[in-house]
């Protein structure tokens, strides 16, 4: 072991296919983390547990790429924010018209549609909503006046497709359809063929007209949401959260937890074990008994008690994981340093009167470095899965969306029973891939460090 130089380790390592695969996965995970930290604003993950900020998203929507494999296309969720705006003024009546064009090319009706707007006006302007369908038929949806106001006021409103007024308007236009409209929801009528109640594909234009008399009303915010059953690359969950964001943010968090825990525990264990082994006698005995005590503590129950009674902050969790992480490494490091101690040059250094700390750091620890790197790599997956397990039990830090927490939510909302595979599979696969990268690297290093395994 002592005969291997770092250069040799590097050469050996890159001959190993497994090691290279591990490094490649790790590099891409790190790349994802960096991109996530730069590109996705920090607010999105701070808002992870705030239902308000996810309101425009659909509930339990399937990932959009599923449509590639589907014969019958599932309607995608659409959030339209850029209408064509027209302003017309004639004889004291001014009209602001917002038009949203959309291409509806799916084999199922949308879930609903919502128009969200805020308007600045005086008096009581008239709001009209209508749809021009691909077959040229125009359907009036709504005609209502906004609440009267003497002075300039800002009015915010959400018009839902479930609105009673829309329903009434549609039933007045029932002669356009060849089937009965009773018990059908607004979106099932608006997006339907006239002959049978099946989705009509093509370009639709939603137009919203606001008429003001003597004053010019303004529409500040204008957003049309066509509620679909598919959204984003990873779909959404029961609380309308975009799972892609949770999964992406989970990457830097998992790497942080895994690397910090394993590096810190390996360093702790290494120094502890080497010191005990080097000192020997009483010191060794006392230190190893203490090691035995920590080794014999049941880790998971204690981690649970610690996170329940002290705090579930992610940083403290990292500390708790370290408490249990260093023990095994200390044992191995001790026996290795017992061996190295017998080498002549350590004796020589001792006779020359070098300080203990210098001998340990300069002569013993460097010999153990290859082993230390292998141990770091091998102990990362355990740290990640343990944290994920604690989060899965609902003991995670609510401020940070980790993969374990996504799975915890999936379990609470019965995702398995409801067949929501996109909520269960990706977080677990991410945990496994991350673990795998480190296991690969660790195994490749282990083969180099343990000559016995080489053949």
């Amino acid at each position: 072991m002592s005969s291997i130089t770092p250069l040799e380790i590097k050469e050996e390592f890159f001959k190993n296919k497994m090691g290279i695969t591990g490094i490649l996965i790790l590099v891409s995970l790190v790349a994802i983390s960096i991109i996530v930290i730069i590109v996705i604003p920090v607010e999105t993950f701070q808002e992870w547990n705030n239902p308000e900020s996810w309101i425009a998203y659909p509930k339990i929507a399937i990932p959009v790429w599923v449509n590639i494999f589907m014969f019958e296309k599932i309607p995608e969720h659409m959030i339209l924010e850029k209408p064509d705006i027209k302003n017309v003024s004639q004889e004291g009546i001014s009209l602001t018209s917002h038009q949203f064009g959309l291409n509806f090319d799916y084999d199922d009706f949308p879930n609903d549609f919502i128009y969200i707007f805020s308007s600045e006006y005086t008096g009581s302007p008239l709001l009209q909503m209508s749809i021009i369908r691909p077959d040229g038929i125009k359907i009036e949806l709504l005609s209502t006046s906004l609440p009267y106001s003497n002075s300039k006021t800002i009015h915010y409103e959400r018009v839902f497709s479930t609105d009673e007024a829309i329903k009434k308007n549609l039933s007045l236009q029932s002669e356009k359809f060849k089937f009965t409209l009773d018990n059908l929801s607004a979106e099932d009528i608006v997006f339907s063929k006239t002959q049978t109640n099946e989705p009509l594909k093509g370009n639709y234009i939603f137009s919203i007209d606001l008429y003001g008399i003597k004053s010019e009303p303004l529409i500040n915010e204008s957003k049309l949401i066509i509620g679909g059953k598919a959204f984003g690359m990873m779909g959404t969950d029961e609380l309308r959260r975009d799972l892609a964001i949770g999964l992406l943010w989970g990457t830097p968090l998992a790497l942080f937890i895994g690397l910090v825990v394993s590096i810190a525990s390996v360093i702790m264990g290494l120094l502890y074990g080497v010191y005990a082994g080097y000192k020997g006698k009483k010191t060794d005995e006392v230190m190893m008994r203490f090691n035995d005590v920590i080794y014999a503590l049941p880790a998971l129950p204690f981690l649970i008690i610690l996170s329940v009674t002290i705090s579930n902050s992610i940083f403290l969790m990292v500390g708790f994981l370290m408490i249990f992480g260093w023990v095994g490494i200390a044992k191995v490091a001790r026996s290795m340093s017992l061996q190295i101690k017998t080498h002549g040059y350590v004796d020589a250094a001792n006779v020359m009167g070098q300080k203990d700390s210098k001998i340990i750091l300069k002569h013993i620890v460097p010999q153990l470095l290859p082993y230390a790197f292998a141990s770091i790599a091998i102990s990362v997956p355990a740290a990640i899965t343990t944290e994920a397990g604690l989060s899965f039990l609902g003991l995670g830090d609510p401020l940070f969306p980790t993969w374990g927490q996504i799975l915890h939510d999936a379990n609470t909302f019965g995702a398995a029973a409801r067949g929501l595979w996109w909520w269960i599979m990706p977080p677990g696969i991410m945990i496994a891939i991350t673990g795998l990268a480190f296991v690969f690297i660790g195994n490749a290093l282990d083969v180099i460090v343990n000559p016995k395994l080489r053949r």
Partner: protein, 353 residues
């Protein structure tokens, strides 16, 4: 030699007992203050409800102040009787608590009860324990048998297809959390293809003759999951032990004599790999009990792990303390056995003491 063994056993036992005490102390230190608050709240609640049940006590007081003072003295009295007037960290109370726990007297659970309705923590624990042992011990035994044979097989043909499949399966399976595979298995085999029940709790009463059958049927899915995730790394470990042993001189000598490969592997080499394998078996038997917490929560298996999880979600501290103690005891016993086996098989270990 026997003397060395005896001394070894005694020192190990002393260490284990020390560890047990430390574990207990840490547990009490962590939950102690919460425990006191909960117990005191319990007393206040008890006193108030006794008085509401008995209106004549309330009528005998002329003023509210007097009445409240009466209640307060009642509460104080009971607090004193239970020794709660001293802080939980006073040596006397810690001593009493630890003594009681050593004798398996964990007191009464705050919220949880056993299936038969008892709130005595001991009853609850001993009702759940056999079920956990049933599931996880069975799984560990299956895993170790499969592991030893697959490991021996792949070590005899290093680089063969069997070896490659076993090794890569071991590496891949070790990075999957068992509980996540559990979720997937439930998703696949309980809901998509309805072969196994989704909840592992048997739904017929204990007295029913079909209970055992039902229990086994409900046990199948968690058992398959645990075995599936576990056996790979066992096989890999056994393989690596064997490779190490196959390079020893005595095996080389046997090869040179011309004893056939199969015989060398299954008799001579496996026998020499036995000590570490048996040791690890002893450790993993108890280790599986600790890991049961999450797995049982996923499968809803009515054992110690789920009990622990439930106790934590409602903060039922006597149950938490009791379960932690029991888990620690099991863990220590198995470490102890593992140590003994190791010392027995390898005289160098004893000499090191």
């Amino acid at each position: 030699m026997l003397l060395g063994m005896k001394r070894y056993v005694v020192t190990r036992m002393a260490t284990m007992f020390g560890v047990l005490m430390v574990t207990l102390l840490i547990t009490i230190a962590l939950v102690g203050s919460n425990m006191d608050t909960i117990l005191k709240q319990g007393i206040v609640f008890q006193v108030r409800s006794e008085i509401t049940e008995n209106p004549s006590i309330g009528q005998s007081f002329s003023s509210v102040v007097e009445f409240e003072a009466f209640i307060q003295t009642q509460i104080d009295q009971r607090v004193k009787v239970l020794g709660l007037d001293e802080p939980w960290y006073s040596p006397q109370r810690v001593g009493i608590t630890m003594y009681k726990i050593l004798l398996l007297d964990f007191g009464h659970a705050t919220f949880l009860t056993s299936d038969s309705g008892s709130s005595d923590v001991k009853d609850i624990l001993f009702e759940k324990l056999p079920r956990t042992v049933l599931l996880f011990t069975t799984a560990t035994i299956i895993i170790s048998i499969m592991g030893v044979f697959l490991g021996a097989l792949s070590s005899s043909k290093i680089g063969s297809t069997t070896d490659r499949i076993t090794s890569s399966f071991a590496i891949v399976s070790s990075s999957f959390p068992v509980w996540w595979i559990g979720m997937l298995m439930i998703f696949l085999f309980a809901f998509t293809y309805q072969i196994f029940p989704a909840r592992a709790t048997p739904d017929i009463p204990l007295s029913d003759p079909g209970y055992i059958g039902s229990l086994l049927y409900h046990m199948a899915l968690p058992l398959i999951t645990i075995v599936m995730i576990g056996f790979g790394s066992w096989a890999y470990m056994v393989r690596n032990f064997m490779i190490g042993i196959m390079q020893e001189d005595f095996i080389m000598a046997k090869k040179a004599i011309g004893i056939n490969q199969k015989k060398i592997i299954y008799t001579h080499a496996l026998k020499n790999a036995a000590p570490p394998i048996v040791t690890i078996l002893a450790l993993s038997l108890s280790g599986s009990l600790g890991g049961a917490i999450i797995t049982e929560a996923v499968f809803d298996w009515p054992g110690m792990g789920r009990l622990y999880f439930e106790a934590i979600s409602v903060m039922d501290l006597p149950v938490i303390i009791g379960a932690t103690y029991l888990l620690t005891v099991f863990f220590l016993i198995s470490i102890f056995i593992a140590d003994l086996l190791y010392g027995y098989f390898d005289p160098r270990v004893r000499a090191g003491q």
